[in-house]
C-alpha cells in the first residue's frame, strides 16, 4: 500500500480499495481504454495495489499509438514537399514511421508546425494562400468534432489550400475486436470518460449485452478509476453485464449532440487499420464524399506505401493487452522516450512511456501483484 499516501483523497481511496477487496471472490481481468487512465494507474501503482483481485490490462487508449504506420509514412511524404506546410498536434512529431519521423523531416528543412487546434491550422492556410496546408487529423471521438469543424469552416470560408490527412479511429469497434480475439482475457472494460463525453454510451449498450461484458464509463483521476473498478467487480461478481456511468460529472447518456452532429456531417465510418492491432471494420472515420476536396490523400494522389515496423517492437501485443511493456526486450534499452522504436513509447498517454516514467522498478523488482 505504499502508494496510497499519494492519493489526493486518501480516505476515499482507501475505502474504495477495501471495498474492491471485499467484493472480489476471485481475480478478474479488466481493461482500461483511455491513455490518461493508464497513466494514472501506473503512476499511482493502482495495478500493484489491487494485484491480488484485479489484473489491469492496458488497452489501445492512445490515439497516437494506434495511428497506422502507413499514415505516418504518408505524413512524412507530405511534410517533405516544398509547397506544403504540414501541421500537427505535437504528440505526433516523434512517432517513428518506417524511415524517419516528423521532427527529423523538420530538421531537414520540411515546414512542420505544431498547432494546438485544427482551427489554428486553418488560419495558417488563410494566411499563406500560396502554400498548401495539410493538417494531420488523428484521434478518437474526442478530437473528431474539432477536426470536423475545421473542414466545415474551410468550405464555408472557401479556403482552397487546406486539407486533412485523416487517420481518425473510433473506440467501440476496437473493443469488439479485442473481445473477439481468440486469446482475449478481458472480462470488463473501463471506457474512456472524455470519449463518452462526446459520444455518450448508447453505442456501448449492445456491446455489453452481446458479449456479456460490463462496461464502466470512467474518469481518469485515481478515485474515478478505483470507483470504476469497484463497479465492474460488483457486476462481474453479480453476473451482470451492463453499461454503468462512473463519470457522471462530465458524461451524459446521449453525449454531446451538437458535436455528434458535426462529426456525422463531415465524416463517415470507414474500415481502418489500427497500428499494432490490424484492420478493424468501421474502426475509423473518413471524410464524406462532399468533402473530398479537403482530403490530402486525394489531392496529392498518395498511393499505398509499403511500411515496415521495427522488428524489435512488440507494440501490437502491448496494445492488445497480451504483453506488459517491461516484458518487451527493447523496453528501456533500444527503446526509450527520447528514441522510441514504437508509438507507445512516444506519447505520455502510451503504456510503454507510462511504465518508463513510473514503473521502471517493476522490471527488476517483480510486479508485486
Amino acid at each position: 500500500m505504499k502508494y496510497l499516501s499519494d492519493y489526493r483523497d486518501g480516505k476515499i481511496a482507501r475505502s474504495l480499495v477495501a471495498a474492491i477487496h471485499e467484493a472480489a471472490t476471485r481475480r478478474w481481468v479488466l481493461m482500461e481504454v483511455c491513455g490518461g487512465q493508464t497513466h494514472t494507474i501506473v503512476k499511482q501503482g493502482i495495478d500493484e495495489l489491487l494485484g491480488r483481485v484485479v489484473e489491469l490490462v492496458h488497452g489501445p487508449g492512445c490515439p497516437v499509438c494506434v495511428t497506422p504506420l502507413e499514415q505516418i509514412d504518408r505524413a512524412l511524404m507530405l511534410a517533405s514537399r516544398r509547397e506544403v506546410i504540414f501541421t500537427s498536434f505535437g504528440d505526433m512529431l516523434r512517432v517513428p514511421g518506417s524511415y524517419s519521423d516528423l521532427f527529423r523531416i523538420r530538421a531537414q528543412g520540411g515546414d512542420v508546425r505544431i498547432v494546438y487546434s485544427p482551427l489554428d491550422a486553418l488560419e495558417i492556410a488563410r494566411r499563406n494562400p500560396g502554400r498548401e496546408v495539410v493538417f494531420f487529423a488523428v484521434g478518437f471521438e474526442t478530437t473528431a468534432p474539432a477536426n470536423a469543424m475545421a473542414v466545415w469552416r474551410a468550405r464555408e470560408l472557401e479556403v482552397g489550400n487546406f486539407t486533412l490527412l485523416v487517420s481518425h479511429v473510433t473506440v467501440p469497434p476496437a473493443m469488439v475486436a479485442i473481445l473477439e480475439a481468440p486469446q482475449n482475457r478481458v472480462q470488463a472494460f473501463l471506457a474512456a470518460g472524455h470519449v463518452c463525453t462526446v459520444t455518450g454510451w448508447t453505442e456501448y449498450e449492445p456491446l455489453a449485452e452481446e458479449h456479456g461484458t460490463p462496461i464502466i464509463v470512467t474518469g481518469f483521476e485515481p478515485v474515478d478509476i478505483l470507483e470504476g473498478i469497484l463497479m465492474a467487480i460488483r457486476q462481474l461478481e453479480g453476473g451482470r453485464h451492463e453499461v454503468q456511468n462512473q463519470y457522471v460529472r462530465s458524461v451524459k447518456r446521449d453525449g454531446n449532440r451538437p458535436a455528434q452532429d458535426a462529426i456525422a456531417k463531415v465524416f463517415k465510418l470507414v474500415d481502418r487499420s489500427w497500428r499494432g492491432i490490424g484492420p478493424i471494420p468501421e474502426g475509423g472515420l473518413g471524410l464524406r464524399e462532399e468533402f473530398a476536396d479537403y482530403d490530402a490523400e486525394r489531392k496529392f494522389g498518395l498511393q499505398s506505401v509499403a511500411a515496415a515496423e521495427s522488428e524489435l517492437c512488440r507494440a501490437g501485443d502491448v496494445l492488445r493487452g497480451n504483453l506488459k511493456p517491461f516484458e518487451c526486450a527493447a523496453f528501456g534499452r533500444e527503446c526509450q522516450p527520447e528514441n522510441p522504436l514504437g508509438a507507445p513509447m512516444v506519447s505520455s498517454e502510451g503504456a510503454c512511456a507510462a511504465y518508463y516514467r513510473y514503473g521502471l522498478h517493476r522490471k527488476s523488482g517483480g510486479t508485486g501483484g
Binding site: 494546438y116 482551427l119 470519449v195 460529472r249
Partner: protein
Amino acid sequence: MCLGIPGRLVARNSVEDLPMGVVDFGGVTRDVCLAYVADEVSVGDYVIVHVGFAISVVDEQQAQRALKLLREMGRADELLLIRDTGDLVDGYQSGEAR
C-alpha cells in the same frame, strides 16, 4: 490529446459567425470554439477544452482538481502549447478577423 484541459470562460464573442470565447487556463488565456456547448455555457462557467473546442461544462471544484492532476501528469506541455500558439491566431482571436 484525449484528456482535455479545464478552464474558465471569461468572455464570449463570435468570429465570422462561429461562437467563440476567451478561456482562462489558470493564467494563460486563449480563444476557444464554443460551438458544441453554445446553448449551455455562460461567462464564468468552467469548460473542458479539447484541442481548442469546449466539449462540456463542468463545476469549478472538479475543474481545479483536473487541472492539478494534469500538471502532475506532466501535461503542462499542453498549457505551454496553448500559450505558445496563442499569437498564431491573434487575428481571429480578438474578433477583428478578416
